[in-house]
């Protein structure tokens, strides 16, 4: 299954704005998503906004990246222009609807 365009965008930005190679950038974003309980295949722009604000900074700090706050602000700014991928029903959607 293809990963979400939002995930691809953030990975590209992390790779471009840090000394990380492609694998390191993708791995770091994957870990930040996992800490937030999210999946790279289904993550939406709104969810990624929370990841950039709450879990990605910590993961970047842990890996010795400088000026994480500015980097995350730059990535978050560009997030607004990213289209969400095709709508996919998540387990949250399913179980929310089952509540009636």
């Amino acid at each position: 299954m293809p990963t979400s365009p939002v995930f691809e965008y953030v990975c590209e930005q992390v790779e471009r704005l840090t000394a990380f190679n492609r694998l390191e950038a993708r791995g770091t974003v994957r870990i930040a998503l996992s800490v937030a309980g999210l999946d790279p295949d289904t993550v939406t722009p709104a969810q990624m906004g929370v990841v950039i604000a709450r879990t990605l900074p910590h993961e970047l700090n842990m890996r010795g990246i400088a000026d994480v706050a500015a980097l995350c602000r730059t990535i978050a700014t560009g997030l607004a222009g990213i289209q969400s991928g095709p709508a996919r029903s998540s387990a949250d959607d399913v179980f929310r609807r089952l509540g009636g």
Partner: protein, 250 residues
């Protein structure tokens, strides 16, 4: 007796939850609500009661009401098929292996159900019906265990992610709790099924075994409680779940 009462409770709660979910499905709840609703209703309202009324598994073949027994077997197979489909839709919709797994399981469920019907129809009248259908009943039992185990594993695994999302405000804590309760229901029924299959394979008469009765009573009550809280959450339960989530965040 305790086992019978617990089974009655299980049937009543499964039926109530099933009808509620079918109502939700009719109001636009989607494929997941239809499959889950049919799963509970076909098994709780039709499959198990018809199977018990027919006498299958309890009396000699000649005394079994064949039509009711056959209907019970088919409804149970259909209900379990619906649960397989629900797990697929809720957790693994985009994965090819899960579609193949579900399709195979559904075929095997109906093969087992019709095998059970055929065994009852062709066995000598004086033969105990439990003995006549042992292989097919065991096959249905194993498939049922796999069905609930898959649902339980997926539910608990998804809950470990959902509670992280809830902590970040990405999902409602009540939805995360519903996923946990669903997983717990799957785990409870799996443990009960596995225990009953093991006892049955050892030649224990489940109707007379204290261990079987107590286990059925305990796990039926726990699983009935989990699905009731999941799909009929009281106001007090919902506010307790949300309050606990807020405290955990703080």
């Amino acid at each position: 007796m305790a086992g019978l009462i617990a089974l009655a409770v299980f049937v009543v709660f499964n039926t109530a939850v099933g009808l509620r979910l079918l109502h939700t499905a009719a109001r636009g709840g989607g494929a997941a609500a239809w499959t889950c609703g049919f799963g509970f209703t076909l098994i709780g309202l039709l499959g198990h009661p018809l199977h018990m009324i027919s006498g299958a598994g309890a009396v000699p073949v000649g005394e079994v009401h064949q039509a009711l027994g056959a209907a019970g077997s088919v409804f149970i197979a259909a209900g379990l098929s619906a649960f397989f489909a629900f797990t697929l839709i809720a957790f693994r919709r985009t994965q090819t292996w899960a579609w193949i797994f579900t399709g195979t399981a559904i075929v095997l469920l109906f093969v087992s159900a019709f095998g059970q019907i055929g065994a009852l129809a062709t066995a000598p009248p004086e033969m105990p019906s439990a003995e006549a259908t042992r292989t097919w009943s065991m096959s249905l039992g194993v498939l049922s265990t796999i069905c609930y185990a898959w649902s339980g594993i997926e539910g608990v695994a998804e809950w470990t992610r959902a509670r992280k999302r809830a902590a970040l405000g990405l999902t409602d804590p009540l939805t995360a709790n519903r996923i946990l309760l669903w997983g717990m229901h799957g785990v409870c029924v799996t443990v009960l099924n596995a225990m009953l299959i093991t006892l049955s394979a050892q030649g224990v008469n489940l109707g007379e075994s204290l261990l079987a009765q107590v286990s059925t009573a305990f796990f039926s009550l726990v699983s009935s409680t989990t699905i009731t809280l999941a799909f009929f959450p009281t106001r007090a339960w919902a506010s307790w779940v949300r309050r606990s989530a807020t405290l955990a965040e703080a």
